[in-house]
Symmetry: C2
DNA sequence: TCGTGTTTAATTGTATGACAAAAATTAGTT
DNA sequence: AACTAATTTTTGTCATACAATTAAACACGA
């Protein structure tokens, strides 16, 4: 198995496609395009300065990752989750994390445990500073560490995909006052079970942590579902101000 | 002003893209293109009679689903699994199935249980007749039922994706004499636990069944790894008179 | 004002041609 | 056979085209 090494100074020229993919998914995950929004191809071409070919290839990829839904003859739309779909995904995510936690507790190296601890602290810091961007990065790092520590190399990708789908509430879960601290505590507890090399406890810790986070997320979801006065495909030209229903 | 009548024959005209996707993934899953094989775009265009545009979009999709790996400047290749990767995926699959089994046992309707039973019988039949194609169909049906019965609508897709990745040994696991019967027995046992509405037993049944199947799969994998006549280094290939205009 | 049918514009789905850059193959030379 | 130069394939990307479909704008009668 080859492990790729990235030289620090080396600026890797990405392909137009992969570049487009990254930028587009960022636009979605960061909420520039919101669930339900149409993604008009030409508009994306303009914004990203790439050809329709590349945009479409990126869209196909995002469709596969369920971030975007491509409706025949109508085009791509940012995927919107029903509460049911949300819960289904959450359940899977929890299960996956449980697997990771058990394995981490069993096989994780001390170095990996240390790395995980650092990630949690970084996240704590970011939360204290209320730095939205850093929080996101820290969360990603945490999950990356968590999954890698499990020793199952297919997990990071899978979880990344699940998280992307759930991303619409990601950035927001920290807006709930008091929650962040609680989150960190939950993660600390998880860390302890791993340190103690106790897979069953780790499993339980993940469930607990996910159960609590789910409640917040559900609240956020309800909030989202009530507010969206979805503008019917209007361009920048006109702004529809009237609210119906 | 043409009034379309689509009453009896519901032949839905698929898009070229989705058609291409299906056909291409079938070619891979059924082993026409084997792990490691290069997928030359123009070749695929010829074979499938579609434009490069559509082929490339389909390939991007398959890349996202990890059936194909697109190597920069080299092109798409049918993904090949190392033993480690295989085990990692298998572990995830088992976990996912466990989740499904527990939920099925808890929430599955009687009708769904019945459907599952039918699927198992259909599979049994197909195995007895040694009808390769029907076996594949039966397996798909079984998993579909199994996942749907769980009530988690995100599961069928996820499992389908995992199975596709593991597909290289799918068709073959039944070649091992004696295994099929054992498989069916394992599934019957699982069915019983679900009927008994016993989630923990169902969980255990899935683990058992997966553990046994894994052994077969691993053997098959070793077999595959030893035989491939791939040419990693430069090899001289004799070109017989392949003149062609 | 409100449908409701019609015309017009925007958008998607797909194909084709083009071309530089990177790889693979062939041919030529030692 | 080993190495290198020349040639052909193949990829990655863009631009253009155009039918089919959908959405928007418009017009008109109730």
């Amino acid at each position: 198995m080859t492990i790729e090494k990235k030289a620090s100074t080396k600026i890797v020229k990405q392909s137009v496609y992969s570049d487009t993919l990254t930028r587009l998914s960022t636009l979605i995950i960061e909420g520039v395009y919101k669930p339900g929004d149409r993604l008009i191809e030409r508009e994306l071409c303009d914004r990203l300065q790439v050809s329709r070919t590349s945009v479409r290839e990126a869209l196909r990829r995002l469709e596969a990752e369920r971030l975007v839904q491509i409706i025949p003859n109508k085009g791509p739309v940012v995927r919107r989750l029903s509460t049911k779909e949300f819960l289904d995904l959450w359940d899977i995510r929890t299960t996956i994390e449980c697997l990771a936690a058990r394995r981490f507790a069993l096989h994780g190296s001390d170095a990996q445990i240390l790395a995980l601890e650092k990630c949690i602290h970084a996240m704590d810091q970011a939360l204290v500073n209320e730095d939205e961007h850093r929080i996101r990065v820290a969360k990603n790092d945490f999950f990356e560490c968590f999954m890698m520590g499990s020793g199952n190399f297919a997990l990071p990708d899978l979880l990344r995909q699940l998280n992307a789908q759930l991303s619409f509430m990601w950035a927001s879960s920290l807006r709930v006052p008091g929650r962040p601290t609680a989150s960190i505590k939950d993660l600390m507890a998880l860390l302890e079970t791993i340190k103690a090399r106790n897979p069953e406890a780790a499993n339980a810790a993940v469930i607990l942590y996910n159960e609590r986070a789910k409640i917040i997320a559900l609240a956020r979801l309800a909030e989202l579902e009530s507010e969206p006065a979805k503008t019917p495909t209007r361009s920048k030209r006109r702004v529809q101000s009237s609210a119906e229903t």
